[in-house]
Symmetry: C2
Subunit: 178 residues, 2 copies
């Protein structure tokens, strides 16, 4: 039941006033409220809350879904490429591939020219899974777009892309240490 009654329980602190934090009073350390990582995190959380239940119904995590999706865009992948494309670190990907392979959703082979390179591809079972979930996922996307506005969404995409580009290019190492 989604009664909006539980907010009161949180705001009714008896002894201390955390309102000072949740509200807007201090003028010295407001950087905590204006935290870019936190803002990005909260936005992501809000978005993922729309997709997680859907994936969870099919016993898939967000990352497993990203991997499967990526595998539908080409015939074979090397692990490194897959990690880059799906924004998953290699150690995580290694575990995810093990899981997905056990479930028969992906296949692994080895490249002839380079024996250390894996050749990863999706199986028919994996494609079935995609086909089963994709329409629902698309609908959630449409809902989000409708709720937020296509134009603002486009602006947001642009800014996020530029931010990652702007910071990702010059890493914190060779910068201007003083």
């Amino acid at each position: 039941m989604g009664r909006p009654s539980r907010k009161a329980a949180a705001a009714a602190g008896p002894v201390v006033e955390p309102t000072e934090v949740a509200g807007h009073s201090g003028g010295e350390m407001r950087a905590f409220r204006r935290s870019l990582p936190m803002a990005l995190l909260k936005a992501r959380e809000a978005v993922m809350a729309r997709f997680r239940p859907l994936l969870h119904e099919h016993d898939l995590t967000e990352q497993q879904w990203r991997v499967l999706r990526a595998l539908t865009t080409a015939d074979g992948f090397r692990a490194g490429e897959l990690a880059r494309v799906s924004s998953i670190s290699m150690p995580s990907l290694s575990r995810i591939l093990r899981t997905l392979e056990k479930r028969g959703l992906i296949q692994r082979g080895i490249e002839d020219k380079d024996l250390r390179a894996a050749q990863i591809s999706i199986t028919p079972s994996g494609r079935d899974m995609i086909a089963l979930i994709a329409p629902h996922s698309e609908r959630r996307y449409a809902e989000i777009t409708a709720a937020f506005g296509a134009d603002r969404l486009a602006t947001l995409y642009g800014l996020l892309d530029e931010l990652a580009d702007c910071l990702g290019g010059a890493d914190g190492d060779g910068g201007d240490e003083e």
Copy 2:
């Protein structure tokens, strides 16, 4: 060192062409490239890459830092409030508090009126840690602001806030399950 090292090794796939994904060609399922969670994730990663090394020097994780920062904004916190303010789930927070307490950076007490509510506060050691790191953190922030532009950053903040607000209000539960 400065060899025009071959990322060609990745693009010169012998059997398949992952270039189709890493590059920009496919026109059927590009929703994967236009993934909002991924865009938010990548932007967050780019930002965090600027802060992580700094925190890591003092053996702090991003989340531990968020908790410490939050604790400087009020005299006492209940665990639930702390979790909300720092955007950390209660299970994670529970573990983090255990760690920070062992390191002497925070203190835990119990409220008189409500014996199940914890009273969490930062210790002098914790404040020292904050004082040590905060200036560097502020400088990283200034760098990011300078690189991306204060105006665009403000716009981004606004959009992120609106997105979380727009989606967070109406949760995915009471929606249109069909």
